[in-house]
């Protein structure tokens, strides 16, 4: 497998040869930040294009097909349109909080995005409490949504924000429990280490029944966490116009929109990392020839392949099922998913203690 840290170490060595270490580290941080934001935007554009095409396929339409080959330039044009639009300022609204809210949402999203390992040696934030940090970073987004709803001075926005807050806080619990199930199996919380442990089989195979249950719970809760799919209550068009971002225009709306899509990607990428092996190729113990062939496919291809496969699954759910009511959403979480998740965690502990996993 190609180790990307060879490249980063070489750059670091070249930089420290001509300047002090502090300056070199600072320059590297700036470059990495720019690369991170660029990748964020590119992922967002791909996700929006994919959403429109998948949605069209499920509704027996063609989707965007005029601008560029198969409509690929359409989303880029949309981004420029959004950038040039006027940002409307609401009268009698708290302007400071109103302008701040989209940035809190996007900061939370970028922080979570930077935790994901893309290739061997290519992870930006790799703490040994990586899983905990990811959950912490993604929990900040709720504050942004609540502030957006409150400061818009609009009842629809406020109701949307309250629903969103209740929903996201509840479903964070299920996400945490299902990730914890895998942490019990791996006994580490560092993402690079979690991926390394899957060299002899992905966790969804190694952990068999409890891992599979955790994966399904994670997919349901993840869809609810990013306010999508059958759980898009916060922005139920028929009841609340557009929920918490009704009053936002131009790029401020764009930031919410982009954050929503990249959050969907982050949820899928984490699912791919902890259940499907991240950048680790498909290895079957015993078949060495097959494993060597698989190793020739680069890690980031595996990672993006798996992540976008999970994205497709989630989009499939979104465009297939009708929307739930708010009481049904909370019942599903507190009366079904959390108890199942707790029992599943116990089951995983039993499996690990008696070494019943592969």
């Amino acid at each position: 497998m190609f180790d990307f840290s060879v490249v980063t170490n070489w750059i670091h060595a070249q930089l420290t040869a001509v300047m002090p270490v502090g300056l070199a580290v600072f320059l590297e941080c700036v470059v990495i930040g720019i690369c991170l934001l660029l990748m964020y935007v590119v992922v967002a554009i791909i996700m929006i294009y994919m959403e429109r095409k998948v949605c069209a396929a499920f509704q027996c339409r063609l989707g965007p097909n005029r601008v560029g080959p198969a409509g690929t330039v359409q989303v880029i044009c949309d981004v420029f349109k959004m950038l040039t639009k006027e940002i409307i300022i609401i009268r009698h609204a708290d302007k400071f909080l109103y302008n701040l809210a989209p940035y809190i949402v996007i900061i939370a999203s970028v922080l979570a995005f930077s935790c994901i390992p893309i290739n061997k040696g290519m992870e930006i934030l790799d703490f040994n409490v990586g899983v905990l940090f990811l959950i912490a970073a993604s929990s900040i987004g709720v504050v942004g949504i609540l502030l957006a709803g409150w400061s818009s001075n609009n009842k629809y926005s406020l109701i949307g924000a309250m629903r969103s807050g209740a929903q996201m806080i509840s479903y964070e619990l299920s996400i945490g429990l299902s990730i914890l199930t895998i942490v019990v199996l791996t006994d580490t919380m560092q993402f690079s280490e979690i991926v390394e442990r899957q060299a002899d089989g992905w966790f969804i195979f190694k952990g068999h029944i409890p891992a599979l249950i955790a994966f399904i719970i994670y997919l349901i809760a993840g869809n609810a966490e990013v306010n999508r799919g059958p759980f898009d209550l916060p922005e139920a068009e028929s009841e609340l116009t557009a929920g918490y971002h009704t009053e936002y225009s131009g790029m401020h709306f764009g930031l919410f929109y982009v954050a929503e899509f990249v959050n969907l990607f982050i949820i899928s990428a984490i699912a791919a990392t902890i259940f499907l092996g991240g950048w680790m190729p498909l290895h079957i113990p015993g078949l060495d020839g097959f494993n060597t062939v698989m190793d020739y496919i680069p890690g980031f291809v595996w990672f993006f392949g798996k992540a976008f496969f999970v994205v497709l699954l989630l989009m499939w759910i979104k465009w297939t099922f009708p929307r739930l009511r708010i009481d049904q959403i909370l019942t599903l979480e507190w009366k079904y998913l959390v108890p199942i998740g707790l029992v599943n965690l116990l089951l995983m502990v039993v499996v690990v203690v008696f070494k019943l996993h592969f």
Partner: protein, 168 residues
């Protein structure tokens, strides 16, 4: 000697101080909550600078992601947009000033009198396993009793909350 560490610390410290002052001087309660969120972010940043990523993540998770959300939620449910804090008058102002000066005095006294031991901090992250064993250990340096006591306290809070909410 100006190092990168020093610059980062100065930026974080300024950020925390300015946010903290703004949090108490603003008149709108939701803005105060937002500035408090910034203070907590800055504190988490200092923990990360010290390479103690566990405490930083916990700070983000519990304070920024949990308690501030709770504050914002309760403000959303109880107050309307027009609500502004009244100016303090008369004896309240005097009491407030005395309390502030006293607190400042105590903090300064402790900070200036305390003989700080030379830092013997080892750089590098602390292993999660060590933290876990310390937190759940029953031995000499184990914290299992406080841990369990806090969990009982939380259980009591949940039961109490349900009792208050369910009272008809």
């Amino acid at each position: 000697m100006i190092t990168l560490d020093l610059i980062v610390f100065t930026v974080l410290a300024l950020f925390i101080t300015v946010s903290a002052v703004l949090a108490v001087t603003t008149k709108r309660i939701l803005r105060a909550a937002t500035y408090l969120l910034f203070v907590l972010f800055g504190t988490a940043g200092i923990y990360f600078q010290l390479n103690y990523s566990f405490l930083g993540a916990v700070q983000l998770l519990i304070y920024a992601g949990g308690i501030t959300v709770l504050y914002v939620f309760s403000i959303l449910l109880t107050s309307s947009e027009g609500d502004k804090a009244e100016k303090l008058k008369g004896y309240k102002l005097v009491i407030g000033l005395i309390a502030t000066v006293a607190a400042l005095g105590i903090c300064l006294f402790i900070m200036l009198k305390n003989p700080f031991v030379p830092s013997n901090f080892e750089h590098g992250e602390l292993d999660v396993r060590t933290i876990g064993h310390a937190l759940m250990g029953t031995g000499k340096d184990g914290y299992v009793l406080p841990f369990e006591v806090i969990s009982i306290l939380l259980l009591a809070c949940i039961v109490g909350g349900i009792m208050i909410a369910r009272k008809r």
